[in-house]
């Protein structure tokens, strides 16, 4: 494990967030982010870890181009990239079937494509014609992830995508996300699960409590395929020794 300071090739996307302040109903301001610089290379897997409510989701939304009311800039404009997003809640259209929900986000030219393989890979074949209201939260999360990945995007933005999945399903889906990253998709993922971050990420970005900023970036040089349980445990213990907040994770 070593501190990250890799300039590398030109990044796929780079955000400089000097400040992000939310306006409360009573008119006062609540500063969520103060000074984050984050760059993702093509095919890089970055995990954001930080305490609850520290501004991780805000950072994701800014990077995905969903929040433009902040001080700073994102280069290039997120609108010029293909971005697949899996939100913290699945956000499926309740009046469209599972398959329709996935198909709808595809570009017009790919709308008619056969989705059977993708749907099967996410274990959704038996549910393709069902409406989201009939699914458990875990299944709905799978659909949300399948929708984001169906796009084959330049950048996958994932906000705690494996929460409330059973262990086997979560492991399967982690493998698919890792495969996407190996195939050249950049991934930015928020998670509370330190083991998960250590299993998947090329780089872990530790965030401070609100107003959040980057505390440290940790590069994980060992290839994903070679990371086993003992290695993950050793890395987690080393991280927890430096960041007491992670001891529970």
């Amino acid at each position: 494990m070593k501190p990250m300071s890799d300039a590398g090739a030109s990044p796929l996307i780079e955000a400089v967030i000097r400040a992000k302040t939310y306006r409360r109903p009573d008119g006062t301001g609540m500063e969520a982010v103060r000074g984050i610089t984050l760059a993702l290379r093509r095919g890089e897997f970055v995990c954001l870890i930080g305490p609850s409510g520290c501004g991780k989701t805000t950072t994701l939304r800014i990077l995905a181009g969903l929040d433009r009311a902040f001080e700073g800039e994102v280069r290039p404009d997120p609108a010029t990239l293909s971005i697949g997003v899996a939100f913290q809640e699945p956000r499926l259209l309740p009046w469209r079937t599972v398959e329709e929900n996935i198909r709808l986000v595809l570009p017009k030219a790919r709308r008619a494509m056969d989705l059977a393989r993708l749907i099967a890979r996410f274990g959704l074949s038996a549910h393709a014609a069902r409406y989201p209201g009939e699914l458990s939260l875990g299944l709905a999360r799978r659909v949300s992830l399948a929708r984001a990945m169906a796009l084959e995007p330049d950048l996958l933005v994932l906000d705690e995508p494996f929460v409330s999945l059973d262990a086997q399903a979560a492991a399967d889906l982690r493998r698919y996300v890792a495969l996407a990253a190996d195939g050249g998709t950049s991934v930015l993922m928020v998670t509370h699960n330190v083991r998960e971050a250590l299993e998947l990420a090329d780089r872990v970005v530790m965030l401070a409590p609100r107003p959040t900023h980057v505390v440290e970036e940790v590069c994980l040089a060992l290839p994903r395929a070679m990371r086993d349980g003992p290695w993950i445990e050793a890395e987690r213990a080393a991280l927890a020794a430096r960041f007491p907040l992670l001891r529970e994770g």
Binding site: A64, L66, A79, I83, G84, V85, F87, E89, R91, L93, P94, W95, R96, L104, V105, K108, R130, Y131, G133, E134, R147, L151
Partner: protein, 253 residues
């Protein structure tokens, strides 16, 4: 299926009971003011074959359809605009409340005075009576639109047409169906008043003539015949439409 058929049987039995009570009361009262149902149905059959019943119903139905479509279109547009823009809502909320509380009779009389006793005045009067109700229902529907789904649509860059078809309209459909059902019931009642006051044909006009002749059988006959047409639209068109737009909710249970 069993539940459906037992429900239908209960409704039919209730209707037969009502007709029976009416028949007995009319026989006991033995008065011109309360004709028996068999006399009313005989009038309907006679007028349907040799009288103006069918043409009058067709004319009234035409007015109902035109004013209903105008009221729904304008009411939806106004309601969605007010629901989306706080500024527009602040500016025009009072207008909606004033129109909502103006008696149907006043609007009708004013339309006839300002536009003359014309077809356009009649349709406008009915539409103006209905527009504020639709606008208020659609405004509430628009306010309840999910910002999360809106953000999802932005994240996946859905085209404006896809947003409209798959995100916005499905959210508004239950409100639209509610507005349509309550709207139809209101519109046909107001159309009869508007015809009574200023048109030379239609069910409302026919009822006013029957009233002047104190022909209660004809008044009830026209009312029942037109009511049957509106019930057919309610059960044959509006309720199936509402069931269709809510199918994804029902399947959750």
């Amino acid at each position: 299926m069993k539940l459906l058929s037992s429900g239908t049987a209960a409704r039919a039995a209730s209707l037969v009971l009502l007709l029976l009570a009416w028949e007995i009361t009319a026989t006991l009262a033995h008065s011109r003011s309360l004709p028996a149902p068999h006399a009313v149905f005989a009038f309907i059959a006679r007028e349907a074959t040799g009288g103006d019943l069918v043409s009058n119903i067709a004319i009234t139905l035409g007015r109902v359809v035109v004013s209903f479509v105008v009221a729904m279109a304008l009411g939806c547009a106004i309601g969605v605009a007010l629901g989306r823009s706080r500024r527009l809502d602040t500016a025009f909320d009072t207008w909606v409340i004033v129109l909502l509380n103006t008696p149907a009779l006043v609007i009708t009389v004013l339309c006839y005075i300002w536009l003359g006793l014309t077809e356009a005045a009649a349709v406008l009067a009915v539409a103006l009576n209905k527009i504020p109700t639709v606008a208020v229902l659609m405004r509430e529907g628009t306010r309840a639109l999910s910002p999360e789904l809106d953000e999802m649509a932005s994240a996946f860059r859905l085209s404006p047409m896809d947003r409209l078809r798959h995100v916005l309209i499905p959210q508004l459909q239950p409100h639209l169906a509610g507005a349509a059902r309550s709207g139809l019931a209101l519109v046909w009642k107001i159309v009869l008043v508007v015809e009574l006051l200023g048109r030379p044909n239609g069910v409302g006009y026919a009822i006013s003539v029957c009233f002047q002749l104190f022909d209660v059988t004809a008044v009830l006959g026209y009312s029942l015949a037109f009511m049957a047409v509106m019930l057919a639209i309610e059960y044959g068109v509006l309720q199936p439409y509402e069931a269709h737009v809510r199918r994804w909710r029902l399947s959750a249970h």
